[in-house]
Protein backbone atom coordinates (compact mmCIF):
# COMPACT_ATOMS: atom_id res chain seq x y z
CA UNK A 1 0.00 0.00 0.00
CA UNK A 2 2.80 2.35 0.98
CA UNK A 3 4.67 1.56 -2.24
CA UNK A 4 1.51 2.09 -4.27
CA UNK A 5 0.98 5.49 -2.67
CA UNK A 6 4.60 6.43 -3.30
CA UNK A 7 4.16 5.47 -6.97
CA UNK A 8 1.06 7.62 -7.33
CA UNK A 9 2.81 10.52 -5.61
CA UNK A 10 5.76 10.12 -7.94
CA UNK A 11 3.41 10.18 -10.92
CA UNK A 12 1.83 13.43 -9.74
CA UNK A 13 5.19 15.02 -9.14
CA UNK A 14 6.48 13.80 -12.51
CA UNK A 15 3.54 15.56 -14.17
CA UNK A 16 4.35 18.75 -12.31
CA UNK A 17 7.96 18.45 -13.35
CA UNK A 18 7.03 17.82 -16.99
CA UNK A 19 4.76 20.80 -17.00
CA UNK A 20 7.30 23.02 -15.26
CA UNK A 21 9.94 22.08 -17.83
CA UNK A 22 7.51 22.89 -20.65
CA UNK A 23 6.71 26.23 -19.05
CA UNK A 24 10.36 27.02 -18.37
CA UNK A 25 11.20 26.27 -22.00
CA UNK A 26 8.64 28.86 -23.03
CA UNK A 27 9.54 31.50 -20.45
CA UNK A 28 12.47 32.75 -22.50
CA UNK A 29 10.16 33.04 -25.51
CA UNK A 30 7.81 30.57 -27.17
CA UNK A 31 8.48 29.54 -30.76
CA UNK A 32 6.56 31.86 -33.09
CA UNK A 33 5.15 30.95 -36.52
CA UNK A 34 3.12 33.13 -38.86
CA UNK A 35 0.18 35.41 -38.17
CA UNK A 36 0.04 38.86 -36.58
CA UNK A 37 -2.90 40.87 -35.33
CA UNK A 38 -3.26 44.63 -35.18
CA UNK A 39 -5.99 45.09 -32.53
CA UNK A 40 -6.48 48.74 -33.52
CA UNK A 41 -7.47 47.94 -37.09
CA UNK A 42 -8.60 44.35 -36.46
CA UNK A 43 -6.48 43.24 -39.43
CA UNK A 44 -4.90 39.78 -39.17
CA UNK A 45 -1.93 39.20 -41.48
CA UNK A 46 -1.59 35.42 -41.75
CA UNK A 47 1.67 35.69 -43.73
CA UNK A 48 3.58 38.02 -41.38
CA UNK A 49 6.06 36.55 -38.88
CA UNK A 50 4.44 36.44 -35.44
CA UNK A 51 6.09 38.31 -32.59
CA UNK A 52 7.75 35.95 -30.09
CA UNK A 53 6.84 38.18 -27.13
CA UNK A 54 3.16 38.28 -28.13
CA UNK A 55 3.01 34.51 -28.69
CA UNK A 56 4.71 33.92 -25.31
CA UNK A 57 2.25 36.28 -23.60
CA UNK A 58 -0.74 34.56 -25.19
CA UNK A 59 0.43 31.03 -24.35
CA UNK A 60 1.34 32.04 -20.81
CA UNK A 61 -2.05 33.71 -20.35
CA UNK A 62 -3.87 30.58 -21.54
CA UNK A 63 -1.77 28.34 -19.29
CA UNK A 64 -2.17 30.70 -16.32
CA UNK A 65 -5.93 30.76 -16.68
CA UNK A 66 -6.04 26.97 -16.82
CA UNK A 67 -3.73 26.53 -13.81
CA UNK A 68 -5.57 29.17 -11.76
CA UNK A 69 -8.91 27.56 -12.64
CA UNK A 70 -7.80 24.06 -11.66
CA UNK A 71 -6.01 25.25 -8.51
CA UNK A 72 -9.01 27.25 -7.24
CA UNK A 73 -11.38 24.31 -7.92
CA UNK A 74 -9.03 21.79 -6.30
CA UNK A 75 -8.52 23.98 -3.24
CA UNK A 76 -12.25 24.70 -2.74
CA UNK A 77 -13.24 21.05 -3.19
CA UNK A 78 -10.59 19.83 -0.72
CA UNK A 79 -10.36 22.86 1.54
CA UNK A 80 -10.63 21.07 4.88
CA UNK A 81 -8.08 18.40 4.00
CA UNK A 82 -5.65 20.92 2.51
CA UNK A 83 -5.93 23.12 5.61
CA UNK A 84 -4.48 20.19 7.53
CA UNK A 85 -1.53 20.04 5.13
CA UNK A 86 -0.73 23.76 5.20
CA UNK A 87 -2.76 26.97 5.70
CA UNK A 88 -0.54 28.57 3.04
CA UNK A 89 -2.42 26.60 0.35
CA UNK A 90 -5.65 28.47 1.16
CA UNK A 91 -3.74 31.76 1.28
CA UNK A 92 -2.26 31.09 -2.16
CA UNK A 93 -5.69 30.21 -3.60
CA UNK A 94 -7.19 33.36 -2.07
CA UNK A 95 -4.41 35.46 -3.58
CA UNK A 96 -5.39 34.12 -7.01
CA UNK A 97 -9.12 34.60 -6.32
CA UNK A 98 -8.51 38.23 -5.34
CA UNK A 99 -5.92 39.17 -7.98
CA UNK A 100 -5.94 36.57 -10.76
CA UNK A 101 -8.54 38.31 -12.93
CA UNK A 102 -6.64 41.61 -12.68
CA UNK A 103 -3.26 39.97 -13.45
CA UNK A 104 -4.69 38.37 -16.60
CA UNK A 105 -6.49 41.57 -17.61
CA UNK A 106 -3.29 43.58 -17.11
CA UNK A 107 -1.40 41.07 -19.24
CA UNK A 108 -4.05 41.27 -21.98
CA UNK A 109 -4.05 45.08 -21.91
CA UNK A 110 -0.23 45.21 -22.09
CA UNK A 111 -0.27 42.74 -24.99
CA UNK A 112 -2.87 44.75 -26.90
CA UNK A 113 -0.89 47.98 -26.28
CA UNK A 114 2.26 46.31 -27.62
CA UNK A 115 0.47 44.82 -30.65
CA UNK A 116 -0.99 48.25 -31.44
CA UNK A 117 2.35 50.02 -31.04
CA UNK A 118 5.36 47.68 -31.01
CA UNK A 119 7.83 49.91 -29.15
CA UNK A 120 10.63 48.83 -26.80
CA UNK A 121 8.91 50.41 -23.77
CA UNK A 122 5.63 48.61 -24.49
CA UNK A 123 7.60 45.37 -24.83
CA UNK A 124 9.35 45.90 -21.47
CA UNK A 125 5.99 46.57 -19.80
CA UNK A 126 4.54 43.38 -21.30
CA UNK A 127 7.53 41.31 -20.19
CA UNK A 128 7.31 42.64 -16.62
CA UNK A 129 3.65 41.65 -16.31
CA UNK A 130 4.50 38.31 -17.90
CA UNK A 131 7.07 37.67 -15.17
CA UNK A 132 4.44 38.27 -12.45
CA UNK A 133 2.05 35.76 -14.02
CA UNK A 134 4.78 33.15 -14.54
CA UNK A 135 5.66 33.42 -10.87
CA UNK A 136 1.99 32.96 -9.86
CA UNK A 137 1.72 29.86 -12.08
CA UNK A 138 4.81 28.33 -10.47
CA UNK A 139 3.42 29.02 -6.99
CA UNK A 140 0.05 27.45 -7.77
CA UNK A 141 1.66 24.31 -9.22
CA UNK A 142 4.06 24.11 -6.33
CA UNK A 143 1.20 24.27 -3.79
CA UNK A 144 -0.72 21.57 -5.68
CA UNK A 145 2.36 19.35 -5.52
CA UNK A 146 2.93 20.20 -1.84
CA UNK A 147 -0.53 18.92 -1.00
CA UNK A 148 0.52 15.34 -1.71
CA UNK A 149 4.26 15.53 -1.19
CA UNK A 150 3.94 16.18 2.56
Amino acid sequence: MKNKLKAVQSFGLALVLTFSVALAGCSSGCKAGKGTLNPTTGVYDSEAQADRVVVTAEKTAATALDVFDKFMQFERQNEATLAGVSPKIHQAAEEIRKNGRQWLTDLDNAKVAYQSNRTASNQVNLQQILATIQSAISSAISYMATSVAK
Binding site: L5, V8, Q9, F11, G12, L15, V16, T18, F19, A22, L23, C26, A32, G33, K34, G35, T36, L37, P39, G42, Y44, S46, A50, D51, V54, V55, E58, K59, A61, A62, T63, L65, D66, V67, F68, K70, M72, Q73, F74, E75, R76, N78, E79, T81, L82, A83, G84, P87, H90, E94, R97, K98, G100, R101, L104, T105, D108, M144, S147, V148
Partner: protein, 60 residues
Protein backbone atom coordinates in the same frame (compact mmCIF):
# COMPACT_ATOMS: atom_id res chain seq x y z
CA UNK B 1 -3.42 8.26 4.90
CA UNK B 2 -7.03 8.07 3.57
CA UNK B 3 -7.11 11.88 3.45
CA UNK B 4 -3.97 11.86 1.35
CA UNK B 5 -5.44 9.27 -0.99
CA UNK B 6 -8.59 11.36 -1.34
CA UNK B 7 -6.45 14.26 -2.55
CA UNK B 8 -4.43 12.26 -5.05
CA UNK B 9 -7.18 11.36 -7.52
CA UNK B 10 -8.55 14.89 -8.05
CA UNK B 11 -5.03 16.31 -8.05
CA UNK B 12 -3.79 13.94 -10.74
CA UNK B 13 -6.96 14.55 -12.79
CA UNK B 14 -6.36 18.30 -12.66
CA UNK B 15 -2.67 17.98 -13.47
CA UNK B 16 -3.31 15.70 -16.45
CA UNK B 17 -5.85 18.20 -17.75
CA UNK B 18 -3.38 21.09 -17.34
CA UNK B 19 -0.65 19.23 -19.22
CA UNK B 20 -3.08 18.20 -22.01
CA UNK B 21 -4.24 21.80 -22.43
CA UNK B 22 -0.64 23.07 -22.41
CA UNK B 23 0.25 20.59 -25.17
CA UNK B 24 -2.81 21.63 -27.23
CA UNK B 25 -1.92 25.28 -26.65
CA UNK B 26 1.63 24.69 -27.90
CA UNK B 27 0.32 23.69 -31.36
CA UNK B 28 -0.66 27.28 -32.19
CA UNK B 29 2.39 29.23 -33.38
CA UNK B 30 1.03 32.56 -34.67
CA UNK B 31 -0.58 35.37 -32.70
CA UNK B 32 -4.24 34.88 -31.79
CA UNK B 33 -6.90 36.22 -34.11
CA UNK B 34 -9.28 38.90 -32.77
CA UNK B 35 -11.95 36.22 -32.21
CA UNK B 36 -9.54 33.93 -30.34
CA UNK B 37 -8.35 36.83 -28.17
CA UNK B 38 -11.96 37.68 -27.34
CA UNK B 39 -12.69 34.01 -26.51
CA UNK B 40 -9.80 34.12 -24.01
CA UNK B 41 -11.27 37.26 -22.38
CA UNK B 42 -14.67 35.55 -22.15
CA UNK B 43 -13.03 32.53 -20.52
CA UNK B 44 -11.31 34.74 -17.90
CA UNK B 45 -14.72 36.17 -17.01
CA UNK B 46 -16.34 32.73 -16.81
CA UNK B 47 -13.59 31.30 -14.58
CA UNK B 48 -13.45 34.21 -12.15
CA UNK B 49 -17.26 34.49 -11.96
CA UNK B 50 -17.52 30.85 -10.82
CA UNK B 51 -18.46 30.11 -7.20
CA UNK B 52 -15.13 28.47 -6.38
CA UNK B 53 -13.29 31.62 -7.55
CA UNK B 54 -14.95 33.85 -4.98
CA UNK B 55 -12.69 34.69 -1.99
CA UNK B 56 -13.77 33.63 1.48
CA UNK B 57 -12.15 33.07 4.91
CA UNK B 58 -10.63 29.65 5.66
CA UNK B 59 -13.11 26.88 6.51
CA UNK B 60 -13.29 26.23 10.25
Amino acid sequence: MPALLALLVPLITQLVSIVQNAIANAQKSGELTAAEAQAHRDKIKAVFDADYAQPRPPAT
